[in-house]
């Protein structure tokens, strides 16, 4: 192990949801990184990445918003750590599209009225934990093993697709989530819907789409024998957790399936105080499950 590995330090782009409906993802990320002694410093004045809506309406705007965020990120040292799967995807897509298209590069530079500064490496938390920090060190930092907890790792769309962009793992058969949570002693289940779409931003305009798609995901996790689902995206979380009761009412099936952000489970295992993990913010309470497994 090189000495440099002991002083990991990152700039941090939380994204809009982590300051609002997904604040438990932000709190548990900060708690986990503190426990692992990894530096995490928020980029000042960051703005919305545009997410799916911006590229659905206006690709040039989408690229410009992300390029502006990459420019702002240079104020803070360290590779850019991103928690939200959608922000991660948009920032990486922007780096790729602009690297290969000179015309778009000129247009975005004009929009920003500044030379482009796009080179900061963008890393999802999973990559930081699995590669930079390392699974052995992660396993060594575990104070409360999650043994006996059966976790369905849900990737959704944007952590691995489209190919060549996120560079996180295989785009059809990834294992990085299983490897990371597996380091805590948790058992990961094999299930069919770990990469199917949850209905995404249709939650606002056509919630019926979400009830169908997310309902199939919950049913698949249940069939796989999972106690809970682990996610890395606030939109997936909202669809699976906030809409779970409606899904149950519409389908007549009971799930009662807690949906955790990856950092909530990892921070729990690393011994972070449960008061900092935001379990009270989850619509499907995980309290009885965690008590049953001796984790609370």
């Amino acid at each position: 192990m090189t000495p440099a590995k002991n002083i990991l330090n990152y700039s941090y782009y939380p994204g809009c949801s982590l300051h609002a409906s997904a604040k438990e993802y932000d709190e548990s990320t900060r708690g986990l990184f503190k426990a692992l002694k990894i530096g995490l410093h928020e980029v000042p004045d960051w703005l919305c990445c545009g997410a799916t809506p911006a590229h659905n309406v206006d690709e040039l705007l989408s690229l410009s918003l992300c390029a502006k965020n990459l420019e702002l990120s240079n104020q803070v040292d360290g590779d850019l750590a991103v928690a939200c799967a959608a922000c991660f995807s948009r920032l990486k897509v922007t780096q790729h599209r602009l690297a290969e298209n000179e015309e778009k590069r000129h247009q975005v530079a004009y929009a920003l009225d500044a030379p482009l500064a796009l080179d900061k490496p963008v890393k999802h938390l999973l990559e930081i934990l699995a590669t930079d920090f390392g699974l052995d060190r992660l396993a060594a930092a575990v104070q409360k093993p999650l043994s006996g907890l059966k976790v369905a790792c849900y990737y959704g769309c944007l952590l691995t697709r489209p190919p060549d962009v996120p560079e996180l793992d295989d785009c059809e058969d990834p294992s990085i989530m299983e490897r990371v949570i597996g380091a805590t002693g948790a058992e990961t289940v094999s299930w069919s819907h770990r990469m199917e779409c949850c209905g995404a931003n249709f939650t606002l305009s056509r919630p019926g789409v979400v009830l169908k798609l997310s309902g199939e995901i919950l049913a698949s996790a249940k069939r796989g024998g999972a106690d809970c689902i682990m996610v890395a995206c606030p939109l997936c979380h909202g669809n699976l957790d906030i809409r779970q009761k409606e899904i149950e009412e519409a389908s007549g099936r009971h799930y009662g399936m807690p949906v955790f952000y990856m950092t909530q489970l990892l921070a729990l295992a690393a011994g972070v105080s449960t008061s900092k993990l935001g379990f009270g913010s989850m619509m499907v309470s995980p309290v009885s499950l965690l008590k049953e497994k001796g984790l609370l």
Partner: protein
């Protein structure tokens, strides 16, 4: 959906439209050889009249009116499964973005394009605040779409769980953000961007 007879001739095939889609999306439409993998993996297939591979075939035949009619292009979730699995590197997710833009620019909103209304409000929020104001986005969408009570019952429990942030401050650099929006508009006015 009822299929009307399609007659192909120079008059009924709008091939200029295909070029426009290819230019906007940065993807070839013509490379598709109809293997159907995109439709086999599409999670939104059951909501669409035309499955994704048929959208591409209709584009190849210059049948843009059939492509833009109805709901198919408005029910793509941008999950990127089609783009990932295409053996010919047709970026169908980008083609769907291009089709939505062309449809909105040419025809404006339709009863099927609710998602684009939500998308546009999302973008308005960025221009006004810098970061997304989730509660306002939901409230304004309900107001503008006439679905005033949608998710009304979720409100109190989201509030109790601390998931509804009621107050929202504008970014300090909101002037720089506005400048990005206005300079993109300027590029378009000058015809230097599509």
């Amino acid at each position: 959906m009822k299929h009307s007879k399609m007659t192909l001739s120079a008059e009924t095939m709008n091939l200029g439209f295909v070029k426009k889609v290819e230019q906007l999306s940065g993807s070839s439409v013509r490379r598709c050889f109809q293997c159907g993998k995109c439709s086999a993996g599409c999670p939104m297939r059951s909501f669409m009249e035309h499955p994704p591979n048929r959208i591409v075939r209709l584009l190849q035949l210059g049948q843009f009116e059939r492509v833009l009619a109805g709901r198919s292009i408005w029910y793509c979730a941008s999950c990127e499964t089609c783009t990932t699995r295409c053996p010919n590197k047709v970026d169908l997710a980008a083609i769907m973005d291009a089709l939505r833009k062309l449809s909105w620019d040419a025809q404006g909103p339709s009863k099927e394009s609710l998602v684009q209304l939500a998308n546009r409000l999302f973008i308005d929020n960025i221009r006004t605040y810098g970061r997304q104001y989730e509660m306002r986005l939901a409230a304004v969408f309900n107001l503008k779409s006439g679905k005033l009570l949608k998710d009304f019952m979720l409100g109190p429990s989201l509030f109790t769980k601390g998931k509804l942030k009621v107050f929202h401050k504008k970014n300090r650099n909101i002037g720089e953000i506005e400048r990005i929006f206005s300079r993109i508009e300027e590029l378009r006015r000058k015809g230097e961007a599509t």
